[in-house]
């Protein structure tokens, strides 16, 4: 019944034995500690012969518990537990008593060190008496990944996983994949055309056998856990049958609603109600904007089915597909279910709303534009075919003021953080501007220039030195209109003077913000987010691509502002994590997980279902379970731990007032035994 415990005291050469009388520790332990049937000391327990000694003694002495008094468990706990497995002993009956780092190395007095070691060993032998066999938790893995978001991060991750041989489901809520990167003109620090490097990737993703793409779709719900997520995807009604449509353009050419601001062009151009967001869109098949289409407006007003409206049927009439048209006004949202083993969240960012800076004329003056709008102006495929023309009158601006840190580093506007990319893209903007308007002059107001990155500093220096942009260190206090000029009032803190610039156009380097619905989305996924609503990585240094939920990874700007190379790197990292995860049929997890008490009827569980545990769990690993009678009526609702999600922190156990949850490996009896064995009185 009782355990037979073997205690192996390591000399660690002389690392331990110089200041701890290891023989005495072994002797006292053998003499006093209940359950201890064998003790020995050995020169180097971690050496091959040392491990062999352990393996042999477990067998010879029939040991059912082991304490190794040696170095920190961080060093060799794994080693000794593995050795125990080889002798048929469940590894969780092996504990390490740390008498080197926390004793022999820090207490030079031998009697003192010996006494403390004896105590530490006693505490561990007591714990071992309460150790239970634990089995590694096996989790089945569905070998398919879900990627949420079709920007550069999502595409990169999708391609990496798909190339690795696994199925990928990609969900993009817009009508086309591509994200922000597709909108950009040129990219720093090399000034290569964004579309030129982005479009091939989009095409590759679209054509990849392993990638299934759902555009114009959103995540309805995600349940399950690592290896086994159940995802519901809402395919929003596109009103166009993607299988039938050839993207011939007949429909949008005839659409009478032509005054709708193009989201892709950041409102600098118009689009139709049936439209593709941009010429290189993938899929390059249109969608009907039901908010703005007059047919749908009419149907809503009359409360009839869209197809019954006769207000305008130009697009369907123009559709050359026969006998069944590719346009279906009555199409409804469709919910599809998929099972995946891992998820990458790559939902991106949004640009700070321009109206927030009223003092800069944001949202008030047409010629005060945001960085993204400037990208469209500078883009060869943009509304001005790449010519820099100011929005109000199409005039070529001769003086352009770029204002940095608009929103970023400004707690009063709700973003205390640095958006990281603006210094670089502003430098790029000044160059693009100078390349296109040779006689123009660019002024940049900055707080600090942060260009940490390969080639970045050189790039921004080039903007200043070669392209002649005037950099002014200071903030702009106000922008107002005077005639057709914009007067920019600012400070140059280096000279200590007030600066007033008569500009033709002002470009605001607006902050990167988390998506508007980031909070709700995070809750849908049970992942954590920070104060700025960017999704939180599991560990800021060591687990930068893992989310707080096992099996859900983060890529790109949904986790925080970052530029393209960083985004691509993170996407690749996330993809490699997913690939590793999908490489086996089953995952083995360390069985240090929490467990909610279960008993025979009529008690069922001592849990009373207050769900404090659920509220404190960082991993959403606590579920509720209805314990039901035979007739189906609920007897009581209690907590249950999802082993797939639990990471073994023990927060729930310490929160539970009735101690109905315990953490395997550190259960109540084990901790109690350790404290009990302190035995000061």
């Amino acid at each position: 019944m009782g355990k037979k415990i073997g205690v192996f005291v390591c000399h660690c050469g002389t690392n331990i034995s110089a200041t701890v009388d290891v023989e005495k520790v072994a002797e006292e332990t053998k003499k006093n500690n209940p359950g201890v049937s064998y003790t020995t000391t050995y020169k180097y327990m971690c050496s091959d012969p040392g491990q062999k000694l352990l393996r042999d003694k477990i067998k010879e002495e029939g040991l059912t518990g082991v304490v190794i008094a040696a170095c920190s468990p961080k060093m060799h706990e794994h080693t000794f537990r593995n050795a125990a497995i080889k002798s048929g002993l469940n590894p969780y009956h092996v504990e390490i008593s740390n008498i080197r780092e926390q004793c022999s190395w820090v207490h030079p007095d031998k009697p003192v060190g010996t006494e403390k070691s004896t105590d530490l060993v006693r505490m561990m032998t007591e714990k071992v008496r309460k150790d239970k066999s634990l089995k590694p938790i096996k989790v089945h893995v569905t070998k398919r990944a879900l990627i949420i978001g079709g920007g550069i991060a999502g595409i990169q991750a999708a391609l990496d996983i798909a190339d690795g041989g696994h199925e990928v489901i990609m969900v993009e809520r817009e009508a086309s994949i591509g994200g922000h990167m597709a909108q950009l003109s040129e990219t720093f620090p090399t000034l290569d055309c964004s579309q030129c490097i982005m479009t091939p990737k989009m095409v590759e993703a679209a054509q990849h056998d392993n990638i299934t793409m759902h555009t114009w779709s959103e995540i309805e719900s995600i349940t399950g856990y690592l290896g086994n997520f159940d995802v519901k995807i809402r395919k929003k009604a596109r009103s166009v049958d993607l299988d039938l449509c050839t993207g011939c353009s007949s429909c949008w050419q005839v659409c009478p609603c032509k005054k709708i601001k193009s989201e892709f062009d950041m409102g600098l151009a118009n689009r139709t109600a049936i439209y593709i967001p941009f010429p290189q869109a993938i899929p390059s098949k249109p969608v009907i904007d039901r908010e703005n289409c007059i047919l749908f407006k009419d149907a809503r007003k009359k409360n009839i089915k869209p197809n019954d409206s006769k207000v305008c049927r130009k697009c369907i009439d123009a559709c050359p597909i026969a006998p069944v048209k590719a346009i279906d006004y009555n199409q409804e949202d469709e919910i599809i279910d998929v099972k995946v083993g891992a998820i990458i969240v790559a939902t991106g960012f949004r640009e700070l709303e321009d109206g927030l800076y009223g003092e800069y004329g944001g949202g008030k003056y047409e010629d005060v534009i945001t960085g993204m709008q400037f990208e469209r102006l500078a883009s060869a495929s943009g509304p001005t075919d790449g010519k820099i023309k100011r929005p109000s009158d199409g005039k070529e601006p001769e003086i352009v003021v770029f204002i940095q840190c608009v929103g970023s580093r400004d707690p009063s506007k709700g973003c205390s953080y640095c958006s990281k990319t603006c210094c670089m893209y502003t430098a790029k903007h000044t160059m693009l501007y100078k390349h296109k308007v040779h006689h123009g002059h660019a002024f940049v107001f900055y707080i600090d220039i942060r260009c940490a990155g390969k080639g970045y500093e050189e790039f921004s220096q080039r903007a200043i030195e070669e392209e002649g942009a005037t950099y002014l260190r200071g903030r702009v206090s106000r922008v107002y209109k005077k005639g057709d000029k914009l007067i920019v009032l600012g400070a140059d803190t280096l000279t200590g003077s007030v600066v007033e610039i008569e500009a033709d156009m002002v470009v605001l380097a607006s902050a990167m913000k988390a998506q508007d619905d980031a909070e709700q989305f995070a809750q849908k996924l049970s992942i954590q987010y920070d104060k700025d609503k960017f999704f939180s990585e599991m560990h800021p240094k060591l687990k930068p691509v893992e989310s707080s939920s096992a099996g859900i990874f983060l890529a790109g700007t949904c986790q925080g502002p970052k530029d393209i190379p960083e985004t691509v790197a993170q996407a690749g990292a996330a993809a490699s994590k997913v690939l590793a995860l999908l490489s086996s049929d089953e995952l083995e997890r360390e069985p240090v997980v929490a467990r909610v008490d279960r008993q025979l009827p009529p008690v069922f569980s001592t849990c009373i279902g207050c769900f404090y545990c659920q509220k404190v769990c960082p991993y959403s690993a606590i579920e509720s379970e209805d314990i039901k009678a035979r007739d189906g009526s609920v007897i009581k609702t209690v907590a249950r731990v999802n082993e797939g999600l639990c990471q073994g922190c023990g927060l729930c156990a310490a929160t539970c007032r009735s101690k109905s949850i315990e953490l395997d490996g550190f259960n109540d009896e084990q901790i109690y035994a350790e404290i009990n064995a302190v035995e000061f009185n």
């Binding site: 003499k31 006093n32 209940p34 025979l600 009827p601 009990n676 064995a677």
Partner: protein, 339 residues
């Protein structure tokens, strides 16, 4: 033997007892409560109360007591039996109902085995009771065959005969011995019939009606109705002078421990919980019934005594105003109506 005792002599009495090696326990006021507690002088004694909060039982069956200690060595257990638990004492000024509880409980503690903790304390402690000169609505000693001046269980009975004088009657040899040892403190009674100041406790029910009804009505709906407000706290059982259930637990560190006897009570949900999870008394009506049945039926059948002395503590202390005499009145009335 009859004597009188003047209030002014209380102090010499206590001092005298102390000199003879007695510890004195008497009613003492602490904040809102009057409790039976150790006193050093007569000044501490409080007599202007109906009933002490705690019962006399505490001095014979303490709320917690070590029954043995042990030391665990690796392959050896050494046991040490406690000593010195029976302290030579006088309980002075307890009520006759409390005193009456002792002979009733003697039966259970000397039944299949003799409980040395009880027996030795019974020997070591002398009971000097003061007859009640006042009572309240909760008192019902007269309904259970006792009286505010019962001598049952007392070694000496004091009865107030004037504002500053008590009549002293010895009931047992032990009592007589105590008085004899302190002759100077007592006076001889004045001739004539003293004016005994004894409370008049209203008789609430006929005790004879109770058991016959209980014999027949194990499944009566009144158990549930009456106990609906009960919150299962068990305070009633802890303040009761005749409730004597206890639980034994081991409290230990790694190498040594004590086996401890603690009060327990039938009103707790866990009291009858089996390891299997089954609980034969899982609801409060069953537990309330048990309390009444044990006191007025089972104990009677086994020991020929009612296990209740009518002190009323349980009803006074009940957080939900469960009133035992009210329950018994209902039973007696029902039984009356049957006839």
């Amino acid at each position: 033997m009859e004597k009188t005792l003047k209030k002014e002599n209380f102090n010499s009495l206590i001092t005298g007892l102390k000199d003879q090696g007695y510890r004195t326990i008497a009613p003492k006021k602490d904040n809102n409560l009057v409790t039976l507690d150790e006193v050093q002088s007569a000044d501490e004694i409080h007599l202007d109360h109906v009933q002490t909060n705690n019962s006399i039982k505490e001095y014979f069956l303490p709320k917690t007591e070590k029954i043995l200690s042990y030391t665990l060595e690796k392959n050896k257990v050494s046991i040490e039996e406690p000593e010195g638990f029976a302290v030579k004492s006088v309980v002075f000024g307890s009520r006759p109902c409390d005193a009456a509880s002792l002979p009733i409980m003697d039966k259970v503690f000397n039944w299949d085995c003799s409980d040395k903790f009880w027996v030795e304390r019974r020997e070591a402690i002398t009971i000097v009771t003061i007859a009640c000169d006042k009572c309240d609505n909760y008192c019902f000693c007269t309904s259970v065959g006792l009286a505010p001046d019962s001598k049952e269980g007392s070694d000496v009975l004091l009865t107030k005969i004037s504002d500053d004088e008590y009549l002293v009657e010895t009931v047992t040899e032990k009592g007589e011995g105590l008085i004899k040892g302190l002759e100077t403190v007592f006076s001889d009674p004045v001739a004539g019939t003293p004016d005994r100041q004894v409370a008049s406790v209203e008789k609430k029910f006929e005790i004879d009606k109770i058991k016959p009804w209980l014999d027949e009505n194990f499944a009566h709906k009144i158990w549930a109705e009456f106990s609906m407000k009960c919150i299962s706290c068990g305070a009633c059982t802890f303040v009761c002078p005749t409730c004597h259930c206890f639980d034994i637990v081991d409290e230990c560190t790694m190498s040594k421990g004590d086996r401890v006897k603690n009060w327990d009570g039938c009103q707790f949900k866990m009291f009858t919980l089996h390891t299997s999870g089954h609980n034969p008394r899982s609801t409060q009506d069953q537990r309330w019934r048990q309390r009444i049945m044990h006191k007025f039926k089972y104990y009677v059948e086994k020991f020929d005594n009612i296990l209740c002395v009518g002190c009323g503590r349980c009803s006074r202390v009940c957080p939900a105003d469960m009133n035992i005499s009210e329950m018994l009145e209902i039973i007696a009335t029902e039984e009356n109506q049957k006839e």
